[in-house]
Amino acid sequence: MRKYVIALLVFVIIFNGFSSIKELTDLAIVKAMGIDLTEDGKYHISAIVIDTSDSENTNSGIVYEAIGDSVHDAARNIVGISPKKLYLAHMETLVISEEVAKTQTENVLDFFIRDNEGSNAFYLFIANGAKSSEIIDIINTEKIDMVSFLQATEKYRGIANLKNLNEIIKTILKDGDEICANSISIKDEKIVINDMAYFRDWNMAGYLTSQESVLYNILINEISNIILSVGQGDNLIVAEVMDSKSKISIENEDTINIEIKIKANLSETSKDIKITNSEKLEEIENNFEEKINNEMLVFYNKIKNEYNSDILGFGNLLYRKKNQLYTQDNYLQKLNVNVNTQVNISNQGGINKTW
């Protein structure tokens, strides 16, 4: 009896299990993908597929392009050119053009939420002033490792952040929170990571400036070792940030408190700055604090009036703390913000500048 059961089991498996086999040689492992809109509303996809005959180089490969009515349709049309089906589980970069971001984001991203092979751990970029297929071409020819590029930018320049698609979709789905996405542009045939783009619900609405991108990343705690500078000319002081924490909380009905704590080291001072005692140090710290406070307030006014998009997540904060202000339509205009920064300069680079 037991033997018949096992034999039947194997029989059933043989006739049905084979349909899901994906041999390694049938997979086109996609490294990066770009989506564009053509003139008649179709999607133009370009994908970098890793070339397995050259196994030492995993950063570039062959670029395939195809056009289709939907994202999935276009991805299948690539099979017309390449002998293998696209395999999206190891994808690292997705570049979408501005037209797609402004109108079609929801349609495009639905494909990625529903697809089960991947875990949506890749990074989203907006193609700033160029077509995404051009950007994909340059990434391929220059063999750029986008992940380390992005990580270095996030750490040292601060105008990009490391949120992958999962977290972006989570933020879009939240009420009262809007996202800012990284953007890439081409300059002298090289890739440059540019300022962030802000969204309103599912669609892109504009770009922040570079300085505002840095402030935004400070506020959402996605920043590491950027540099701050105050003064100019012979009064220039430059400090390197070691650690920065920001905390946003509700103070009362219509005021929000932002507290920022920064620890920095002095890295470069100009001719006229001589730090001889602790009061001078405190004065320099206060200069930094004032500058950041002012910039934050200007940034917030601009968000309120010009951008009109709640990228700092105040609405979600109100919803979570059950503040009734959130249910009104223009809650953003009615909120006031207090900014309080604390800069702590811990060392001066081990020297005492006495010359």
Partner: protein, 492 residues
């Protein structure tokens, strides 16, 4: 007496190694029969025959002046009754009865048959046809004693009795096999082992009716008759210190003449993985060794199946660089992954089998050739990919951690089952194969006890003592409840 001699000669007509000799000492007729192949010839000539001559001649002194004896001397008969049993100086002598005992068994067991005064005596003069005590050939002992059993059952019992010197170590023997008459015995410590188990084993052994017992495996198959699983439920060992260790726990040892292996029962699954050498090492270091051994068990069964299911079904679990490297390697290989895996596993099994068969002269060369073939040549020829060789080599090396050949064969079968399931359904197939494997292990009976003893009916004290850690010997006060009723180690 003449009838007896004629009877013996006629029955032993075609056995040319049996010698008959008639002696006439002082008118006493003595008749000797023995098998030249089995006796120690110096013992027979210097001792038996000389003692016979001395005994028969020496009695003359007393009755020299008796009238009866003088008359008898003239006629030519000698009517003195000699009680050979009480006068000959030899260690084993037995008086036989023609009807009841089988005379031929004694001749063919190395005894000398002496017919004297209508009595038949059997005197033991066995030649020593065995090798000396040497190192164990199939088991390695790192720190323990290095003597091993030989083919003589009495020597084996001696090696065990050297270690356990108590009168409670009982030994019962029977002779089994109509043509071979092999001695089979069981040993146990009577106030530790459970008497039901001893009765069970004795009953099973006494029921055996067979032509001949050549090895201990014959007995093993008889007493394990109802065991349908692939794993053995008794331990086969060649080392007397292992046998003594298990006897003191309350297990039973079965010894068979002409076999240097001793059977120990009951056996549990953890005994095939743990090694007695753990007791000879520091107890804290043994934990990591045991963890490595359990991981070897899992590795040897599951690694080829795991590799197959990752390559063909779930490629997302592999890191990206490794995936491109695998894909590059598999580009040049014409076969699907399953055929490649089966071929490599089969080739390694051939290598292992030829290693067991080849003698010392050609052994080294052939294994080098085998490694060369499987290594570089197969890869360069494009038949297999390099990662497959690593996978299969890892499997085979982990499989060699187990010393019992039955266990290695059973694991080999389950490795094949895992590979088939994994190549058809991926990780789900491996899950189903795991369910079948665990069920097969759990349903094995080891002499009415569960095979997966500390784990399946969970017994936390035993788990702490021997599953992953070894309790230090001074703290180990009690014996296991499943093997014995006498729990505490006391002074008697």
């Amino acid at each position: 007496m003449e009838n007896l001699i004629e009877y013996l000669k006629s029955r032993l007509k075609n056995l040319d190694d049996i010698y008959f000799r008639e002696l006439n000492i002082k008118n006493k007729k003595v008749f000797i029969a023995f098998s030249d192949a089995l006796i120690d010839s110096s013992l027979v000539s210097n001792f038996v025959i000389r003692s016979l001559v001395d005994i028969i001649s020496s009695d003359e002194l007393e009755d020299k002046n008796n009238l009866k004896s003088k008359i008898e001397e003239k006629i030519g008969i000698n009517s003195k009754k000699i009680d050979l049993e009480n006068s000959i100086a030899i260690n084993k002598i037995k008086k036989l009865d023609k009807e009841k005992d089988n005379l031929f068994t004694y001749i063919l067991s190395g005894f000398v048959l002496i017919v004297l005064d209508e009595n038949i005596y059997a005197v033991e003069t066995k030649a020593s046809l065995i090798r000396g005590i040497s190192e164990p050939t199939s088991e390695n002992s790192v720190r323990g004693a290095k003597d091993s059993f030989v083919e003589n059952i009495m020597t084996n019992i001696g090696l065990i009795r050297r270690r356990i010197k108590t009168e409670k170590l009982e030994y019962k023997e029977t002779k089994i096999g109509t043509k071979t008459n092999t001695t089979v015995g069981i040993m146990y410590v009577s106030n530790i082992a459970k008497s039901e188990l001893v009765d069970l084993v004795e009953e099973k052994i006494n029921k055996i009716v067979i032509d001949g017992i050549l090895d201990v495996n014959y007995i093993q198959e008889y007493i394990e008759e109802k065991n349908e699983s692939d794993f053995p439920v008794s331990i086969n060992t060649e080392r007397p210190d292992i046998v003594s260790y298990y006897l003191l726990q309350g297990r039973i040892a079965v010894l068979v003449d002409n076999s240097p292996y001793v059977l120990i029962l009951p056996a549990f699954f953890e005994d095939f993985i743990n090694n007695i050498d753990d007791v000879y090492q520091k107890s804290k270091n043994v934990t990591i060794t045991k963890i490595i051994r359990y991981m070897c068990l899992i590795l040897t069964v599951m690694v080829p199946a795991f590799y197959l299911s990752l390559i063909t079904f779930d490629q997302e679990s592999i890191p990206t660089e490794l995936l491109t490297s695998f894909a590059a390697q598999r580009e040049g290989v014409p076969f699907p992954a399953f055929i490649e895996a089966i071929t490599m596993v089969f080739a390694f099994e051939i290598l292992r089998e030829s290693d067991l068969r080849s003698n010392k002269i050609s052994g080294n060369t052939m294994s080098i050739v085998g490694a060369l073939i499987l290594g570089d040549a197969a890869v360069s020829a494009g038949i297999v990919s390099p990662i497959m060789i690593i996978v299969v080599a890892l499997t085979t090396i982990s499989g060699l951690t187990f010393s019992d050949i039955n266990v290695i064969n059973a694991l080999r079968k389950w490795r094949a089952i895992y590979m088939i399931f994994a190549s058809l359904c991926g990780l789900i197939g491996m899950a189903m194969a795991t369910i079948l494997f665990v069920t097969s292990l759990v349903s094995t009976n080891s002499y009415t006890k569960s095979f997966t003893y500390p784990v399946a009916p969970l017994n936390m004290t035993q788990v702490k003592k021997s599953l992953f850690t070894r309790m230090a010997i001074p703290k180990d006060h009690t014996r296991q409840k499943i093997l014995t009723n006498n729990l505490t180690r006391s002074r008697e």
